[in-house]
Symmetry: D3
């Protein structure tokens, strides 16, 4: 995953997204004739899953001179410990000083999302988790969010772009809007079945108009073997989805002869709530998680020049010289 | 601020960042010949400051038909209450169904950042707050982060793009890297002074090599009236910046005759810590806040079709029909 | 209320429900020829509402000699403070020693229930509260529970016997059983309407088969002006009744033209939850409370001989002699 | 214990203690000609000890038709888990619908008391526990309380009726009143000894007038081998009974040559305090518990029709059809 | 109080109790010929009551040269705020460098005790508090403890030396030992009355053998008008002294005609418990406090050289130069 | 350690530091002719380390008659359990009654300090702990504090007298004062090296003027092999000493070739903070603890006469007669 190539936005390449002081630093150093070879280390400030490595690699491959550069990083999607060196760049300073903001930001945001996703995946204990978080992030990063969530262990995601970046088929059921516009859940599902290619699984949203148990049976009776699953997304005004509801819908489906119909759960899920479903042995087939992953806080990365022309240095508060980390792999 | 025009990325316009199920919904409705006029409302799920309205307006102005559309929204940067209707769109459903993910995501992320910024601004109680959060977000949204932080009350931001979007001069001091590369703080500040246009304020970072008090006096002795301020950014390994440190540096500067030198504080600030500085009457001139604003969780927005061809509707759990809100202004 | 006459069970009158040591004490004192006039005080050990006074008065009127007796008590249903003297009996000891267990027990249990009821009534802040607690107490005291709950402020109760003791018409809607047996909510309500006298209000239980909003509209459409209310009793497996559900059902009923239909709420209510409904301004017409009132802990009463033949006494730990309390009224 | 026969009050048999809506339901069903065979299940809503089964069996044996009825229940005094089916009745609905309140109430109250008793018994870890709770419940249920406490593991109880229901000799020491009336503890104990049959153990209450240690020695010196024990019941105004007091009284009795005298402890005991005595290895012979058992909250039972004429049914929120439970035994 | 003269131990004057590094510092400075005039400030690190000033003054008056010295201090027993300058010494450094440990230690310990005493005095809200703490401190400082407690507001103390230092008559009742040796409380009090001068108040300890209420009446009956008070000191094994016990003993004394007998309370008192007595309006005449005062933690004092030969200095972390404090008074 | 001889102050021997009631008791008993042989036991009221035994032994050896006395005690510095008998004296009461306050006080204070020291020693888990608490106690007990801290496991102490009492060389580095007076850390250390005997270790305080890392390297460069260690004592205004600071200083010293230089840590240490250093594997060579040890609360000792002329006695609340404890050793 680490060497996949990413498109880099022009505004990033020209430095528009950089902190202004980096522009000024480059001006000053150029005027002073200072441009040593440096080794810079990026250190994580909490435990988590690293993501963003491939994108950073793509950016650096476009801006670093081909000779004399060295980039070492942890593998995309692997675990990183607090205070671990996760990325090391060796190159003339002037070649990449401007990109410090972009590199740190990409790692920070992507690793935050991947870490949030992984917490859900762990809680789900084998039940697949899907990333439905696009509606909680700016559209410019919706694809990156989905990519990072999959780096953290999600098995699918909901955006078209996320699908393209991960190489996985994007996943979706149907929105409440469609059912409201058609005016009846069973009719909406039938329309879906009529117009959407057969390889897309038929998963009905069953809480729009009526009780979930009632609606599930109604839809299953219309669709029979063609129905792949039902999605429970009860709003908080109605108590949200509970483990007991999953048990009951499962029992009613089974008693109706619809053992093949899966149950998808969504709506405000987080690791605690996912664990509660598992503890109650609720027969959930898929958890769809949105806000928790999207709201995972960024992971901070400390950036330190550790060598200047081969000499160990550090600012006060840090230990001079590079710190060995055998888990780093050379990516450039 | 609400009517400023934003560039909208192509991937957003073509729907690549949309949830896949919206694509399918449009296919189905088209095949079924369903395309009523609808009223859709976006409701916030917690208190905060709204941002992203101008960008959403720019997007909708490109996709909605000029006749028959109506867009109402709260004013950019104003307060919004939990469960308040913040945005209402009236148009034929097919014209904008695909953009639900993008609109919600832009509001969600931007409002989250604006709200985090405002909490800091309130805590600072009159002392200016600056947004330094770009290193914690993906570079594709660094400018939007800075724009949103200023909507929430920040007086300046650090990225070039943020400056462009807000119309404010971007602000920065100098990175530790530059001082390490030059090898001495006083020499680094002198170099800055030599090469950077005079209208940029000279603010020295004073914790790279030596004790902050010692370094502040050394820099002030070199620069005298030309020095605008010193920035304290003590790392957590050294206990971070404390109110007592600000008092001491202020006293030492005053005793040295440098009453004109301001003190900028940065490093892991959040509303609690800002209040602690104020409570201890620490003479801070500017607070620079990064991670807290960038990590502010997105604010969720519920999207509900409330009218179809003039008829009140709602899914189970919501009240049918639009909800009046006199604070909404027509933006399109 | 305090002088209403109660039937006293034979087992109480013969002392079968008394602690055995009271029987033995009477035997010993008789053999020793000891039977002084005593003053005995009953002191409450926490704040609350007193109940059981009328029943205790009925018991004492049957066992105390008509001359030489004096019974003073607080008024039924009034507030009593911790450590307040609530009942004082003056009589020859042998006339009532055996009934100490019964008198204390009646006050203890009844006051506990009245106090629990009053906490709900206070929380309800003007909205009527009804006692539905019979299913949580032994049938031998179901009527006393209801009587005590009304002494604490409830406006009605559910048992036939409770109705008789309080002089109020017992109140009820319909059980889930009836709806299940008839097989459809609207049909069940119609049957009720057909066979039950018109002065009994028609209140439909609307969560048996379908979503509460849907069912409420269905029932209201059948019954129109004849429907007095709907009762929401959503089980905890479906999240229980929430303020939002009440708001929504209210809105849907109003939009359907059924403004005259009241909303009754039941299911696990306690003062905290009742306050939450009021805080959310949920338009509830009646709260029906069961378990909280029935499970209210008994209030302990300390029983102390304070005078023997006019001489102040007390055991160690208590202050000798009677304690004046101007709130006491002579009831016998 | 489960098949012992109980007397059932007339008011229960005629339905006076039933919720009014059950009367109405029977009227309606009769008029509609509905009276199917049903299976009804009673499910506990928390862990505990079941009691009340024998009494419920006695009630049902009087009202159900002898043919076509089936009653299954857990064994009296056994453990029941949350959500376990504890009682199942199969019969024509009209035969027992009216008794739902009584059956649930009897189980609820009795199981609550048995569960509270069992918590004390467990805490006592082998030291006998006695039920002294009659003064905290209405006299109509004082015997049932004692019966239930013994079902939960108490080794004796204090009321005459409780003794009759359990077949155990009721237990008691002497009340403070008797000592106050006689005027001296040693004289009171001597009087007890003179007038009460020798098989009743002589247990002196030793905190009425003087220090417990002093009084214990005084009583033991008078009574010698005839003294079975002393009861410590120090009021809270004097700090209550502490483990250290028990140790000291034990030591003083032993030093005086009264090793045969047991120590009974009472006064505000609960499982926490009982454990504290055990942890401090206080040589207690018997714990007498009143309020804690009497105030144990009722255990709720959910009542659901699960089959109608052999067809599985359930209201929304419950799983249709009966749930097997191999621990149920047929009692009727 | 601040100018009272104290005896200073020889070991302190020769520096035996000083930290060894102060000895070495004086050696080095002498060899280097360094002995400037300095201003040294002592700053408290928490709020409290200052004590020890008079003793420090006595020490400094013996070691500082009479000309060229200046000592300023807060008034003994006055309030001091956290971070307030409490003592300032101006003198040649060599004259007092050795005594830094002794000066700081005397202020630290004495102020800690005075502060603890004052917390009790405040809690007692007008009822006198006496210092009984000598048994919790080393005998070498028992007198200083009592002196400091009186500086903090105590109205008397228990040691002979404390009495001498404060000029107050030491106060005491009688120990349990004396009563045990004489074998009876009333006889012990009579013996006290026979042999101790009449101006010493007769206060009987009443919990040695019997119940406090019983013993109080027995002693009062023997002593009548000659009894000044009774002291309640119930051990924790008997629940300690409670507000209810004070009320009861008061009532029993009053009922016996002994209104003139005061009630002294001791045994594990602290501000919280003293407040509980006041809140319950317990009629206590005197609180005797031991451990709480003796265990009051020392108050730390920071010692900083702030001027050297008139030039402001400070170590890193402190503000250079003296800090004005108008509350300081010149004491030498 | 238990039999080391201590000097006893005259004020203690004449009883000036005793509670006045002991003087009166002796007067009364003498006049009454009461002076039995008694056994008195001292019982600790919490777990801890006992200290003060040797000093108490010295006092008793001066006041008890040589024949007929017996003193048993736990070993100095050993563990004592709550409620354990720690000291037993057998002698005629008149010989030592006056010294109850002094004996209890010496044990109380010394054991408190030893216990506090031992908590630090345990937390340090093998790293030496030194007692620097003299500045927080009255100078009259500074030596006893240091002696007790060493009884609790400290390996050295700071006062001259403490050194004499323990037989250990007192330990110290240098005060901030000396560095301020000399004006430069490196020059101060050089002066120390010039004038102080070579067997005293050279340990430099490195936070007076400059950053600790910078200063450590500067001092080490001047002193080279002659430098034994650096002491970190960063004030709280600068965040105090952190584990990260120790790591960094260690790394910088090692990179500079100064692996032989130890790191001493001081400043507000307590067991929690010491554990945090160990958990972070900070390479600390010595912990110097002041306030925590000095502020350790005294341990209370209950004093009870348990035999009078061979007869077991006790006041109410205690068990009569001595309690065997095989850990006691005869010390006199």
């Amino acid at each position: 995953m680490t060497t996949r190539d990413f498109e880099i936005a022009r505004s990033v390449l020209v430095g528009d997204t950089a902190d202004i002081y980096l522009h000024r630093t480059l001006t000053i150093l150029r005027n002073e004739g200072i441009n040593p070879d440096v080794a810079v280390e990026f250190t994580s400030d909490r435990d988590g899953v690293i993501a963003g490595v491939a994108e950073v690699r793509s950016l650096l491959s476009r801006v670093l001179p081909e000779t004399g550069r060295e980039v070492w990083a942890l593998e995309e999607g692997s675990h990183m410990a607090r205070d671990e060196v996760c990325l090391r760049i060796r190159a003339p300073y002037a070649a990449f000083g401007l990109y410090e903001t972009a590199v740190t930001g990409a790692l920070s945001a992507s690793s935050g999302w991947a870490t949030g996703a992984q917490e859900c995946v762990e809680a789900a204990n084998g039940v697949p988790v899907m990333s439905f978080g696009a509606k909680y992030v700016h559209p410019s990063v919706a694809g990156i969010l989905d990519y990072s969530a999959c780096a953290g262990g999600c098995q699918a995601c909901s955006t078209v772009l996320g699908g393209r970046l991960t190489g996985l088929t994007p996943f979706g059921t149907m929105p409440h809007s469609m059912i409201l516009l058609i005016g009846d859940t069973a009719r909406a599902v039938t329309a879906f079945d009529r117009h959407i290619p057969p390889e897309v699984p038929r998963v009905a949203l069953v809480d729009t108009f009526r009780d979930e148990g009632e609606e599930s049976l109604a839809v299953a009776s219309h669709m029979r073997e063609r129905l792949r699953g039902v999605r429970l997304d009860t709003p908080r005004e109605r108590g949200g989805v509970t483990p007991e509801l999953v048990h009951e819908v499962r029992a009613r489906l089974d008693q109706g002869g619809f053992r093949h119909v899966d149950i998808y759960v969504s709506g405000g899920l987080d690791p605690e709530r996912i664990k509660a479903f598992n503890k109650a042995e609720a027969p959930v087939s898929v958890f769809a998680v949105g806000r928790y992953i999207a709201a995972s806080p960024p992971i901070g990365f400390t950036v330190d020049i550790k060598e200047i022309d081969g000499r160990p240095v550090a600012k006060r508060g840090r230990i001079p010289g590079i710190r060995e980390n055998l888990r780093l792999e050379r990516v450039l």
